[in-house]
Symmetry: C2
DNA sequence: AACACTTCTGAAACCAGTTTCAATGCATAT
DNA sequence: ATATGCATTGAAACTGGTTTCAGAAGTGTT
């Protein structure tokens, strides 16, 4: 088969250019100094001898078309004949051509990149070691990759190093906020994003008045299911562990679910069985000790997160109370450690795969101006040993 | 105080430009259609009415200098007077100017971005839920942020979706590879990176012949320390759990440490006390059962990773063997679950903070052509309950 | 006073693509 | 045969910075 790349289409080699054409001439020179062959990268390692990357002009020359046609062909623009597209594709493959995303982004005013801002809890610094975020991360990465988007990631430590600049400096088309518990401290900055019309989504509880951007698990429903499960197994004095101040809107929702489940069953909500506790093992440990010493026997604990539930189990063991015989325990999150505790922890799994998918989906909807439909993710009860059998 | 921005320096308003100057004229127009005032973002939300971002030309006009001077001033280029720098900075602040990184990258041929490629173990898919990687991720992010680099992240699932294109398409200046256990399957592709002179570093065991790029914990030393600790507590029949085939070079190194510690103490290496096991709780569980049933009593287990050690503890409990009284257990990694097992797991902590720092540091050294010095990170023994007291 | 040497600045080239616009060729409608 | 329409294509404008180059202003030397 003859080389189709050498067959120049009629009308291409027009000889009627007489004037110097300074701009074009300079651009064209790039092509002249590039002599690539597949597999001849030997000099690449030699310092300062780096071979020049091929540009779309090189592809154009090789394929016998104009540079703009190369651009169209490689983007599968509609207005290119199948024959041309093939020739360009082959030339690009031959020279091992890769678009320069900076040039592309500059002109098209699009980056095809999302930025993920991960906020640490400045108090506990727990969010970073919370495996929950690794699976969120994984699913977000995959969801954006599947849609052809790159993902920039940034761990935010204080509210000072604010990274809305990711959008302002055209590094990313949209932002994803992720954080555990108290993220309201940066919401004031988030609201400013609306003013500069920067697309963003946030993981966490739905904030009233801005439903579209805020995506989270159905915490109320999940907690209700967990507490129902305890009640169905005959537990009556069920303690709730978790900070329900405005710092932890998610925990507050889970407390609502707890209250609702009790109400359904006609059980009283005993104020004294609530223990304020930040999300960490140590805090949960101490909180349950205080609660038992103060209020006497309980027969179950609902932890607003797994770390609290695990801390509670350790505290119970310290008071020689057996889990689940004496006290049943249910957590929330289903972190990796959950199946490894003894007994294994019954908990409400947050569907991180669906969550990541929804965050990205909704962010792209915002970017493209399409309407948002779903904003909540269902949780599922994972029954293990700590709640007293199936 | 008068507005310094209006004081044009002499010689700036030169009136001797008569010719049309097509290029400049078009560029200048951008400045004319932008009328910003701090806090007047009202129209920003209205569709299609988006206010045009300020460019460096706008800053130049406001500051009464040329656009190239603006560029220099904002980058703290040496060749700008303090007075000019101040004026430019003030103008930029006033218009809330942010550089367009795409334009910057395009011209400077630098992205100020690193790409992190996280590989899943296709067999166990464990690496994603392994909290070890979250802390690696966190430290890598922080290390690159500290140096002014953005971080692109990508979870690689199969060896097919190869992302050297991150560098080829000028998205990133360098690559960081992260993966658990068997990553040799993509090393053939990694070696190709050298050919195209793409800077990269890899987390894992040092691969002979390419010392500079490969960074990892001192696995031999760490394992030796752990096994020494067991020996010092009187243990003699110490099992080793872990796959030491070429698929897991790290485990292989840890096995070497195990053998060395035994040798130092004059203990024989009993072939039968080695159990091949991939990195997961289930596999460790089964492996220890088989080993006990086959070889009879042991008094200690060294797990090549924490998940294996945890699995082993569960298996031992199933055979009614007490940890640490009957069998002492030591793991490797120090994952978050480690302190929550019962008894809490003694293990070798990998210093992820130092590791992330070193990966980024070395990658930048490669990018800038500076020599690399360190390639190994020390581990530290974390003594908890599972090894039989301090 | 003439000269060299910095230090600072502006004009224009440059990076490598996308997008606009006008032109071409060809098929179909009149 | 001519007008109309459409699919393709190329030339040139355009994106918003950085970098080169040359010139101006100011200082020090002889």
């Amino acid at each position: 088969m003859g080389d189709p790349l050498r067959v120049l289409p009629a009308g291409t080699s027009r000889p009627d250019l007489k004037e110097p054409e300074p701009r074009r001439a300079l651009r064209g020179r790039a092509a002249d100094c590039y002599h690539p062959r597949p597999g001849e990268h030997q000099e690449a390692g030699i310092k300062g001898m780096r071979v020049k990357r091929p540009t779309s002009f090189d592809i154009a020359e090789l394929a016998g078309v104009s540079q703009s046609t190369v651009s169209r062909a490689l983007r599968n623009d509609a207005m290119v004949s199948e024959d041309t597209r093939q020739r360009v594709a082959q030339a690009a493959r031959l020279l091992n051509y890769k678009v320069d995303v900076n040039a592309r982004n500059l002109r098209s005013q699009k980056t095809n990149t999302l930025a993920l801002l991960l906020y640490e809890d400045p108090v506990t610094s727990q969010s970073l070691i919370n495996p929950f975020f690794l699976s969120m991360l994984s699913s977000i990465t995959k969801a954006s990759a599947r849609r052809g988007y790159d993902l920039l990631i940034s761990f935010q430590q204080s509210s000072d190093d604010w990274s809305a600049d990711y959008a302002a400096s055209k590094r990313a088309d949209g932002l994803i906020f992720l954080g555990y518990g108290d993220y309201l401290r940066y919401v004031d900055k988030i609201s400013r994003l609306d003013e500069v019309s920067t697309a963003f989504v946030t993981w966490g509880p739905v904030v009233p008045g801005q439903p579209g951007h805020f995506i989270g698990s159905d915490n109320v429903h999940g907690a209700r299911e967990g507490v129902r499960h305890l009640i169905a197994r005959g537990r009556r004095r069920i303690a709730f562990l978790g900070d329900i101040s405005e710092h932890c809107p998610e925990f507050r929702d889970r407390y609502r679910g707890y209250v609702e489940a009790l109400g359904e069953a006609g059980l009283p909500v005993i104020e004294a069985l609530y223990a304020d506790a930040a999300a960490s093992e140590e805090v949960g440990h101490q909180a349950i000790l205080d609660l038992i010493d103060r209020e006497g026997p309980i027969d179950a604990v609902f932890g607003a997160c797994d770390l609290l539930a695990i801390g509670a189990m350790n505290g119970l063991r310290e008071r020689s109370l057996r889990v689940p015989e004496d006290v049943a325990v249910v957590g929330f999150d289903d972190i990796v450690a959950a199946p490894f505790t003894s007994p294994p922890l019954t908990t409400l799994r947050q569907d991180t795969a669906a969550a990541g998918e929804l965050l990205v989906e909704n962010l792209l909807r915002l970017i493209e101006g399409r309407p948002i439909e779903t904003t909540q993710i269902a949780t599922s009860l994972v029954v293990r040993g700590s709640c007293g059998g199936l």
